[in-house]
Symmetry: C2
Subunit: 280 residues, 2 copies
């Protein structure tokens, strides 16, 4: 099986690593960034970096792992040019707009809209790691629009890297992601900004940073281009999540400002219920 | 040396564990919660649970590790009753109001205002762990008001459990803590509240929670009583930090709402500078 991966960053590169090691699989890379191309070869992520047109001509499967802002433009063009049996899988973090962009395409059946729930706060080919996906979940959206054989091929690929797949409507996926992923990125970036801002006057402040702070602010190290694109493409759901967050934050602020201990404890006791979800 | 620890929770209990194991040290516990007393004995944290009055009568050192809301009342009463050479050390997370509460006490010289920067999101005697303090920082505030011998004793105790101490004005400590500890607890609790709230309608939401979310929301598991007390006693600095956070959050929200990619990326690039501080 010939698999071409478009976009050799953290996700595409990690896919490349895990797929390359399998028998009867040859992995090619496509990337518009010359540094990424050099790094991908040096790091041995792919057999060769090739052009998009060559990838379209020779591949059985095309994995698209590029910022979601570019996906809407590129995906229809890819579906225009694929061979009859090629499967095209996108791995973007938002799904609704991408699914809409190709919903009436004559090759829609060859397309699988997926989102492996895996990643780190690092980016680029050098961030690619083996087994990134092992034991993680993968969401496949609007699968009823995908041809049965294309879906089977995609499921086999995901399974081979350790992902367990589940199905979901694209709109539902995007709403859930706004709450459990995109919102926590915004709050982490904001925490980083706030503390860096006060540091201008208080040089010593980071001497005191504890592991609790480090854990809460970790996502503020994430890649700005990746996330501006995700925030923008999921802005309706994200704004809803943000407004709900801001409302809760106002309740908290007001309890602190009025020395309302009872209200503070009531809010925190409710928040403690998160223990039910997080096992450690 | 006889050391009594008032309040055998996460911090007091962990201190008890590390001090009990040292030669020539006997550790007694004092706690108003009968369950904590039973647990402390069962877990072998202390030699014996005793009354406060007995502790005041027999101890060379008294470590006070109770919610900061109770400290302001209890600390002056303790200083009223200690023997001539007893050293009283508090381990609370806020320092300014506590230092003010005893600043003119005739026994102020016997008091050491400290804050070991260590902890987990768990609480109570069963949360006590060995070596919690090893390699961590400890802040001692307004040390110029402490007698030299009392300061030396406290420094030796902190060193023996692996803490490295530094000095700071109480007001400065509280301001810094508002930014690098208390604020991240508020944002974590708020994130937990927001996601639990949407979960009422979207049962499946936590299936999708990733490690990034888990890391950002971890502090929402913290003890409500401990933190209401800290937030309240440090409310002037915390409100300042919160308002600065809310301002940054509004900038972020507005960039998302207006599809201003450039502004989003500029904010995130600034926030990325946090990498300078966090090594991993």
């Amino acid at each position: 099986m010939i698999i071409s991966i478009i976009g050799i960053g953290l996700i595409g590169g990690s896919m490349a690593l895990d797929l390359s090691s399998q028998i009867n699989v040859t992995v090619y890379g496509v990337d518009t960034n010359p540094d990424h191309c050099n790094d991908a070869i040096k790091l041995g992520l792919v057999k060769e970096m090739i052009s998009l047109s060559k990838a379209l001509a020779i591949s059985d499967v095309i994995l698209v792992s590029i910022p979601v802002s570019s996906l809407e433009q590129i995906l229809p063009a890819i579906l225009d040019q694929i061979k009859e049996h090629t499967v095209v899988i996108d791995l973007g973090s938002t799904k609704e707009r991408i699914c809409n962009a190709v919903s009436t395409h004559y090759n829609r059946g060859r397309f699988v809209a997926a989102h492996p729930l895996a990643g780190t706060e690092f980016s680029g080919p050098s961030a690619a790691i083996e087994s990134l996906f092992r034991g993680k979940k993968n969401i496949i959206c609007n699968q009823e629009q995908t041809d049965e054989d294309a879906l089977s091929t995609a499921m086999a690929i995901f399974k081979s890297v350790g992902l367990s797949s589940q199905f979901m409507k694209a709109a539902e996926h995007d709403k859930h992601m706004a709450y459990v992923s995109h919102l926590s990125h915004v709050t982490s970036f904001t925490l980083g900004l706030t503390v860096l801002d006060i540091e201008k006057d208080e040089k010593q402040i980071f001497n005191l940073a504890s592991t609790g702070f480090a854990s809460t602010v970790r996502l503020a190290k994430s890649n700005p281009q990746t996330w501006s694109s995700i925030f923008d493409k999921n802005s309706p759901h994200l704004l809803q999540a943000l407004d709900s967050y801001i409302k809760q934050l106002s309740l908290f602020r007001s309890a602190i400002a009025t020395h309302n201990i009872e209200e503070m404890e009531s809010l925190m006791t409710k928040a403690n219920e998160i223990k039910r979800i997080l096992q450690n």
